[in-house]
């Protein structure tokens, strides 16, 4: 299937999206320390390239699922920063009216069908979205993001088996950052590459450098076109690097910090910025402009969250059951 090549306009959109994620999450980290955002927070700083390159190719009627590290996927899928920030601040104007928080973000309007706090817990739910797409007979797809830690669990394997048996339009996107929570992959399995795990099911699969946004764009675009054409499932393993701890406050004693110079080299945002300018996709001042626009949008989101009221306490009892 032909894939539209990355052009200057798309590259700049990717860059803008990655800046929005990066600056949003850095702000969330600060707000968490100030207890304006409370509870367990997992940031994806360093992994933004995958979220942007995947979600910017999707439509609102494509269902996307993510795990506990979900802010980036939600933003890239179109969740408004104001309502996402208000959600993390537990406010009534939040996407989920403050009832879900960081680990359970849902934005149905933009097809962000949900994050889960259970590693891999919604991989089979994404399978259901893919089945629904098939039964409706349209060309929408289901995409689920998960980390390499989810692959050793039963729900991953059960889902891959059924998706391949029924040929469903499901695209599994693994962000392999090398750590399942606090444990290196080597301590969990002998299978180094996640893409190898699905080999016996004959699932079409690839492993790419997840910090190379153009590579993720190209590989995912190819699978997306096939899935829209009625094929599936697919698995895209994106090798990436989580710059921060598993959660905010994680002392991170289980791994070596990356040297600053190495990170400059790997950072998906700086990489795209260098590459895009060298390719003539965009000018330096255009890149600077999307960064400052993202910073302004994040500040605006914080102001929005702070002036939003908390939900009424009785709201949670109204949410137990849907009315028949």
């Amino acid at each position: 299937m032909p894939v539209p090549p990355l052009d200057g306009e798309q590259a700049l959109r990717l860059l803008a999206t990655m800046w929005r994620i990066r600056l949003f999450e850095e702000q969330v980290g600060l707000l968490a320390r100030a207890d304006e955002v409370h509870g367990l927070i997992h940031l994806s700083v360093g992994q933004e390239g995958v979220a942007a390159a995947v979600c910017l190719q999707l439509r609102d009627d494509d269902a996307v699922y993510s795990g506990h590290r979900a802010h980036g996927h939600a933003i890239a899928k179109g969740a408004p920063l104001e309502r996402l920030m208000a959600e993390l601040m537990g406010r009534d104007s939040g996407l989920c009216r403050g009832l879900g928080g960081s680990m359970h973000v849902v934005d149905v309007e933009h097809g962000f069908m949900g994050a889960t706090g259970v590693v891999g817990g919604n991989i089979p739910i994404a399978l259901g979205s893919a089945l629904a797409a098939r039964l409706r007979g349209d060309d929408s797809v289901a995409v689920v993001f998960f980390g390499d830690g989810a692959v050793q669990a039963g729900h991953f394997n059960e889902t891959v088996n059924l998706a391949s048996l029924w040929g469903l339009p499901l695209i599994l996107v693994c962000e392999n950052n090398g750590f399942a929570e606090f444990t290196p992959r080597s301590a969990h399995t002998n299978v180094e590459r996640v893409s190898d795990v699905v080999a016996p099911y004959e699932v079409e699969r690839d492993t790419v450098d997840g910090n190379d946004v153009a590579a993720v764009w190209e590989a995912f675009g190819r699978y997306l076109a096939s899935a829209r054409g009625g094929s599936g499932p697919f698995l895209l393993e994106c090798l990436t690097h989580r710059l921060r701890g598993h959660y905010e406050g994680d002392p991170g004693k289980y791994r070596e910090a990356l040297a600053a110079a190495d990170w400059q080299e790997k950072d998906p945002i700086l990489r795209l910025q260098r590459h895009g300018i060298a390719q003539g996709w965009f000018a330096e001042d255009a890149a600077a402009a999307v960064e400052s626009e993202a910073a302004e949008a994040v500040e605006q989101a914080v102001r929005f969250g702070r002036r939003s009221p908390f939900p009424p306490v009785g709201l949670i009892e109204e949410m137990v059951y849907a009315d028949a």
């Binding site: 989920c96 849902v106 817990g121 259901g128 979205s129 089945l131 729900h155 059960e158 059924l162």
Partner: protein, 326 residues
């Protein structure tokens, strides 16, 4: 008009009628629809009726995803214990989705499972685990005791916009009963008074309803009139009907095949102790299974389970007790 059907066929009738009425209803599970000749496949096709591998987590997770997309899946799980393989989906995903999303989504699905097969099926196929699910906000839990209710509650379960755990007792599978023709819906949260009486209230669920009715007949011969209440749905639970009955009789015996500390009866006992204490003339007595894994050996199985003799003895105990002084 009504017709006579075995309990299991009454459930089947409801599923078929709902699938005819609404083409978003899906039906899938293990060991079904394996050939083209099966009635469900013949009637509704292999898109809507599917055999799955032995993958409870994927089956139930997939049902959630399809429900989010507007379908109404019924998952055939055969044994209630098989849901335990997929606890994350049943307890931590399906019923929490609506609340955690701030009401953006609904998850209409039915998890259909048999339970309580205490006919030598030993430790892992005999559990009465409804109370485990009734303690999960967002889940509805259904436990019919008659063929008519089996049909009417299934139809209501499929039309409900929430995840419903539909538990049918395996020892009732071939029990026949009068079943209303055509569309028949039994509302959730409305207990049935199976027998009226003024001396003591007996609340029983599932297979124990018939045991309680048998005990009530024997007690009637002694001049004791027992009122027998079948809640029919554990969540929502109709505590009002129970409280009104206790207000009339002043005495309460709770019968449950579940192990005592994970039973519906303990929940009812708590509600009545809090909201109906002044009506009680004697302490509540519970007749439950013992807090033990179900033994295989028949005399031991009988020892663990509630039966008519134990219910009769419990009623005699509450009637003989000294009045509670409030």
């Amino acid at each position: 008009m009504a017709h006579e059907l075995p309990f299991i066929a009454a459930i089947d009738e409801a599923i078929r009628l709902e699938m005819e009425r609404d083409d978003t209803v899906l039906y899938f599970g293990q060991n079904m629809a394996t050939t083209e000749n099966e009635p469900y496949v013949d009637a509704f096709g292999k898109d809507r009726v599917r055999v799955t591998p032995i993958s409870e987590t994927a089956e139930i997770g997939m049902a959630i995803g399809a429900a989010l997309a507007g379908f109404r899946p019924v998952v055939e799980l055969y044994m209630a214990e098989f849901m335990l393989v997929a606890m994350d989906q049943v307890i931590n995903e399906a019923p929490r989705f609506r609340a955690m999303s701030g009401g953006q989504v609904k998850v209409p699905l039915v998890l259909k499972a048999g339970f309580g097969f205490t006919a030598g099926w030993a430790g892992q196929h005999t559990g009465t685990i409804g109370a485990l699910f009734m303690g999960v906000p967002g889940l509805k839990v259904v436990m019919p005791s008659t063929a008519a209710d089996a049909k009417g509650l299934m139809a209501t379960a499929i039309r409900d916009d929430n995840p419903v755990v539909y538990l049918h007792h395996y020892l009732l599978t071939l029990e026949h009963g009068e079943v209303p023709d055509g569309e028949y819906l039994v509302p959730f949260g409305q207990a049935a008074i199976r027998r009226e009486g003024s001396d003591v209230t007996i609340v029983a669920t599932g297979w124990t309803v018939d045991r309680a009715l048998g005990a009530a007949e024997r007690l009637a011969a002694e001049g004791i009139q027992a009122e027998v209440i079948d809640p029919r749905t554990l969540a929502p639970l109709d505590t009002q009907t129970i409280l009104e009955s206790v207000d009339k009789t002043g005495r309460l015996v709770l019968v449950d095949q579940a192990t005592r500390h994970a039973s519906v009866s303990t929940v009812i006992a708590g509600e009545v102790a809090e909201h109906g204490f002044s009506s009680l003339k004697a302490p509540i007595v519970q007749v439950t299974a013992l807090d033990a894994t179900m033994p295989y050996s028949q005399p031991l199985e009988a020892w663990v389970l509630p039966d008519e003799d134990k219910i009769v003895a419990a009623v005699q105990q509450v009637l003989g007790s000294a009045p509670v002084t409030a």
